[in-house]
């Protein structure tokens, strides 16, 4: 009896030791070579109102720019953007930036806010709270509003699309060297709101441009980058032209999208449509040392366009200083030139990215 019980005791102890302590030992094994990445996602068709909202992607931005006029006729340019960066680990990060140009004085103002995580700031389809700022996507596709308030600079705008949507690259999907992105635009929005600069209030109206991009892609700085033009032509047409540089700093592609006053959309390619973009001058930022092209000639043969684009002010540089935003130039410009031999003008917003030397990586310098 004692022996049996003794054996039972030993067995129980061994079972405990085995179950609680032992982890199955793993035989050493060589890591197989030649692992393959997942297949690149096939683009889904863009549908509204779903795409106006937030997406589960590495990078996304809702971008507004445009041209405002006060009741007294004072002219302003504005740029408001919400960046969402999500590395899939925890909550995404949001950064919002506001840039205002006083076209009369040439003074440029910019402020930023950031938020960790998606914080709903209202009951609409999408109301993003970014610190004390609110960005809202409304029920009707193409309608947005935002309120960016600081002590010195505030802009609250209600924006409503006045044209159909513009899908870029025909289906609204672009591939880059480092990933792919969905991209569509509401090229013209009516804008109504209030602007406050250093305590001075302006009721403003005007015309806006909205871009929405999202995807699993990486934005690279200098030498990579791009020149981007959002143009409101006087004849009611709207045009986006992008010239991007690859990681080697060479021009990778030049393309665009044109929407006529009637709302017809046309994809523009560098060779087929005879796009020729050339910088006419340059401007160097005293603050960051970045040298940007300044003033351009743009020819789009297939549309009979021969344009000149001039910045309203040289210094419209936006410095990040907050996560997910690098330094770039985002500025109001004026268009002049000819279309099929007839004079044409307009307003543009220009974005220049990848012109400032990035901070060197500390450990690589040692």
């Amino acid at each position: 009896m004692s022996t049996k019980r003794f054996i039972l005791g030993i067995i129980m102890l061994s079972v405990i030791a085995a179950t609680v302590a032992c982890v199955k030992s793993a035989d050493p094994r060589e890591i197989p070579v030649g692992a393959l990445p997942d297949a690149t996602a096939t683009p889904a068709s863009i549908t509204f109102p779903r795409e106006e909202l937030s997406h589960d992607s590495r990078l996304e931005w809702w971008y507004h720019s445009g041209h405002l006029r006060s009741e007294t006729g004072k002219e302003f340019g504005f740029h408001f953007v919400v960046f969402k960066a999500d590395d899939g680990l925890g909550e995404p990060n949001l950064v919002a930036q506001l840039g205002i140009l006083d076209a009369e004085t040439g003074e440029h103002y910019h402020v930023s806010r950031a938020e960790a995580g998606i914080r709903s700031a209202g009951d609409g389809p999408l109301d993003l709270g970014i610190a004390n700022w609110v960005y809202s996507v409304e029920e009707r596709s193409g309608n947005h509003q935002f309120s960016a308030v600081t002590n010195d600079l505030s802009l609250s705008l209600q924006l409503e699309a006045t044209t159909p949507v513009m899908l870029h690259n025909k289906i609204g999907w672009l591939t880059t060297e480092t990933g792919a992105t969905y991209y569509y635009t509401w090229p013209r929005q009516s804008a109504v709101g209030e602007l406050i600069i250093n305590g001075e209030k302006f009721s403003v109206t005007g015309s806006g441009w909205f871009d929405h991009q999202w995807g699993d892609f990486f934005v690279l700085g200098k030498p990579a980058g791009w020149q981007w033009f959002a143009m409101h032509l006087d004849d009611g047409g709207s045009m986006m032209i992008t010239q991007s540089r690859g990681i080697d700093g060479k021009i990778a592609e030049t393309y665009g999208t044109y929407m006529s006053a009637e709302g017809d959309v046309r994809h523009l390619e560098h060779g087929a449509d005879g796009i020729d973009l050339a910088a006419l001058g340059e401007w160097t930022s005293a603050e960051t040392g970045g040298t940007y092209p300044s003033g351009w000639s743009l020819i789009v043969e297939s549309l009979g366009l021969d344009l000149r684009i001039d910045p309203v002010a040289n210094d419209q540089e936006i410095q990040g200083g907050l996560p997910a935003a690098a330094t770039y130039w985002e500025g109001k410009a004026r268009i002049s030139g000819l279309q099929n031999g007839l004079s044409i003008g307009g307003d543009a917003y220009v974005e220049l990215s990848g012109y400032v030397d990035p901070e060197p990586i500390d450990w690589m310098q040692r």
């Binding site: 009896m1 004692s2 019980r5 003794f6 030993i10 129980m12 102890l13 061994s14 079972v15 405990i16 030791a17 179950t19 609680v20 302590a21 982890v23 199955k24 030992s25 793993a26 035989d27 050493p28 094994r29 060589e30 890591i31 070579v33 030649g34 692992a35 990445p37 690149t40 590495r58 960066a85 590395d87 680990l89 990060n93 806010r113 950031a114 938020e115 960790a116 060297e177 480092t178 990933g179 699993d216 990486f218 934005v219 690279l220 700085g221 200098k222 030498p223 990579a224 990681i247 080697d248 996560p323 997910a324 690098a326 990035p358 901070e359 060197p360 990586i361 500390d362 450990w363 690589m364």
Partner: protein
């Protein structure tokens, strides 16, 4: 030998007493300085692969896992409110001036450090220090960081460590305050007289004092953990009182027989002294087994406990007879409780009942013992986190915020360093962004992602599942040009010349066995070139558990074997030692069951005021094995020595078992109740581990003296009959003789 020592002590009683007074007085200053050379921690070992990997991570990737964590909050300002950010910057700005601080990360560097649910920001300062040295530096940091308008809680490794030490010390003091008066009352109840009751406490206390003072000297030569001190003191008090109590009661018994004082002392010395000596030897076997583990904490308990048991034994065998010889009959003065010697004992009817119905006793009691042990089968070993601390402490409060708002300690992150070139190699072989190294790293990253339990991997080659080596090569042609915050951080922090860091993320709790399996699986991977080094908390736990439980079965076997042999020599029986060992194992298993039922599964957590650990701290079962084995063997020897004594005299098995139980019952119960009180008082502890040790010990001892010693052991001996004393002739001839003198 015992007789001559006893006789010598009786002859030189005043010299012995004076010597002890001198020794105790000399030990006093060292007793209070016992922790001076003790080291914090002691759960790890330099030879552990995780410790080696930590060195690689520090040397090759400048990654330190020891941090001071600051939790800043404000009732109104959101984390990215410029006022909030400025206040944080101003608070932590000076920290990077210290060489001890390798980095400071705020929410402005990593936005995930801003809480998504409240106005709270988590800031970390990485320390290039060992944990031991960080406690002092923590004071500097605490003084320096001025949160201004923000609220600040400081937590992190050093703060938690400091608070665990402080709380453990406080627990010990509180335990002593509660336990000593109650233990004295218990002694009064057992002896009935004031003098006899004070004696064990005085002699036991003297032994502990000297034993703990010995720790002061030993710890100067051998690394010992500060955590050992509590356990050593607890054990010393319990065992010291046990020995003295057993000795005193035997002395009283001898006096009752009408013997002169010196004869009574000698009688007690020979009988009780021998039991105490063997009991100390078996306790020492159990506790010294801890020295075989590669974990300083266990080794320290082994060494420390050996010191106090040795001192307690010495006090029981020299100081006790000297005092008793001086006191003589006066030991029975100042009666304030019952005289058990003159009253009808409860143990007589009990022993008679057990002797009449041994099977009726054995079957249900054995069933209860086994049922008590059943929860032990679901024991999950791990380590514990800051939840072992009470939530009144700042470091615990900070930890809770980090856990609830930032997912701290809920998920596992296992840092794996891939090294592929020597330090100082400036060739392209060391370029982490070369095509060849990107390809190899990509293979490693993909393999890590495929392991069971892995949710994702963070590294320079795990940014996008659709990216292959071609895209990564392109991405890292100008790594400084990456604007993506997360990717830029990875390039800044998780890669250096010749080394790439992979952070393996898992939803598994860092302290679960499944996580140790994951660590084991990662460690099995061999890259085509270079080496992988697996670090992190889960990896350290894996090493600790491997170090502990790789040897545990052998140590159990050795302890059981040696104990069996010593009892074989003492009792000259093959069966009695076997029974003793089996019953001890049953007591231990019952305490394991209780440990799991309460502290792992969380039953009674409300009453006992703790948060269920979900796992059992890996060192606890071993520690309990060593302590309980020693203690319950004490009681077994006390009981068996009385049975053997009666059997030698009468040759009647049933009568001798009954007599043994009757004569030892009160003393074993008295000794055990004191230990239960001392150990049970630790239930009031704030630190859950201390609580767990106390409660498990108390339960084990309670089970041992009630079910095992009072019922199961006598029932088995009754059933075994003459087999109890069976010893083959050849064995009898070769076994060394242990003489008893009446």
């Amino acid at each position: 030998m015992l007789t001559s020592i006893g006789a010598l002590v009786i002859r030189r009683k005043y010299i012995v007493l004076a010597t002890w007074i001198v020794v105790i007085l000399a030990a006093l200053p060292f007793f209070s300085r016992a922790d001076e050379y003790l080291k914090p921690g002691g759960f790890s070992n330099e030879s552990f692969p995780s410790v080696q990997a930590q060195k690689v991570l520090q040397e090759r990737l400048e990654l330190t896992t020891l941090t001071v964590d600051f939790v800043f909050s404000h009732p109104e300002w959101s984390p990215f409110d410029p006022r909030f950010s400025e206040a944080i910057e101003s608070a932590v700005n000076g920290l990077t001036d210290h060489d001890e601080i390798t980095y400071v990360v705020t929410h402005l560097d990593d936005p995930k450090r801003a809480s998504a649910v409240s106005n709270t920001v988590h800031v970390s300062a990485g320390l290039a220090l060992e944990l031991d040295d960080s406690l002092e530096f923590l004071e500097t940091v605490t003084d320096e960081v001025d949160p201004g308008p923000l609220d600040l809680i400081i937590t992190g490794g050093p703060a938690l460590y400091r608070d665990i030490s402080l709380a453990s010390e406080r627990d010990l003091r509180r335990g002593e305050t509660v336990a000593f008066p109650i233990a004295t009352l218990a002694l009064l109840l057992v002896f009935g007289t004031l003098v006899a009751a004070i004696l064990p406490a005085a002699v036991g206390g003297g032994g502990v004092l000297v034993g703990v003072a010995l720790v002061f000297f030993i710890s100067q030569g051998i690394d010992m953990s500060v955590f050992a001190l509590n356990i050593v003191s607890l054990l010393g008090i319990g065992i010291g009182i046990d020995y003295s109590l057993f000795y005193t009661s035997r002395f009283q018994e001898e006096l009752r027989k009408g013997k002169p004082v010196d004869d009574a002392v000698l009688g007690a010395h020979v009988h009780a002294g021998q039991a105490i000596l063997f009991s100390a030897v078996t306790s020492l076997i159990g506790l010294l087994s801890l020295i075989a583990f590669d974990v300083m904490m266990l080794r320290s308990v082994g060494i420390g406990a050996a010191a106090v048991i040795f001192a307690a034994l010495l006090a029981a065998l020299t100081l006790m007879p000297a005092i008793l010889a001086i006191l003589g009959e006066r030991v029975n003065r100042f009666r304030i409780g019952p005289d058990w010697g003159k009253r009808g004992s409860f143990w007589v009817p009990l022993s008679n009942w057990v002797m009449k119905r041994p099977w009726l006793v054995l079957i249900p009691t054995s069933t209860v013992l086994i049922l008590l042990a059943v929860p032990a089968l679901s024991m999950r070993l791990g380590t514990v986190d800051a939840t072992i601390l009470p939530d009144s402490l700042e470091s615990r409060q900070g930890f809770d915020v980090l856990r609830e708002e930032f997912g701290f300690a809920l998920q596992t992150i296992i840092p794996v360093a891939y090294t592929f070139a020597e330090v100082g190699d400036e060739s392209s072989n060391a370029d982490p962004f070369s095509r060849a190294n990107i390809e190899r790293a990509f293979d490693i990253g993909s393999e890590l992602e495929s392991l069971s339990g892995v949710t994702h991997v963070t590294s320079i080659v795990n940014l996008d599942p659709s990216f292959g080596p071609d895209q990564y090569e392109l991405l890292y042609r100008h790594p400084e040009a990456i604007t993506d915050v997360a990717a830029a951080r990875i390039v800044e922090e998780a890669v250096r010349k010749g080394a790439i860091l992979f952070l393996v993320h898992s939803d598994l709790n860092p302290f679960w066995p499944e996580t140790r399996q994951l660590v084991t699986d990662i460690r099995a991977l061999i890259p085509t070139e270079g080496e992988l080094h697996v670090n992190g908390g889960a990896s350290e736990i894996t090493d600790i558990v491997n170090a502990l439980y790789g040897k545990f079965p052998y140590i159990i076997a050795a302890v059981l074997g040696v104990t069996y042999l010593s009892l074989l020599v003492l009792f000259r029986s093959l069966v009695l030692p076997l029974k003793a060992v089996v019953l001890n194992v049953l007591s231990i298993l019952a305490s394991y069951g209780a440990l799991v039922f309460v502290f792992q599964q969380g039953h009674f957590s409300g009453i006992l005021n703790f948060e269920a650990m979900g796992v059992i701290e890996a060192t606890l079962p071993i520690l309990l094995f060593a302590i309980i084995f020693g203690l319950s063997m004490d009681y077994e020897i006390f009981l068996l020595s009385r049975v053997a004594e009666a059997y030698e005299r009468t040759g009647d098995n049933v009568a001798s078992v009954a007599e043994g139980l009757q004569r030892s019952g009160l003393i074993i119960t008295g000794a055990a109740s004191i230990l239960i009180i001392v150990a049970g008082s630790f239930v009031l502890a704030d630190v859950v581990i201390v609580k767990a040790i106390g409660l498990s010990l108390a339960i084990a001892v309670l089970v041992d003296v009630t079910l095992v010693r009072a019922l199961v052991a006598p029932a088995i001996m009754r059933i075994a009959g003459p087999w109890n004393w069976w010893l083959p002739g050849w064995l009898d001839r070769i076994l060394p003789e242990v003489k008893r003198v009446d």
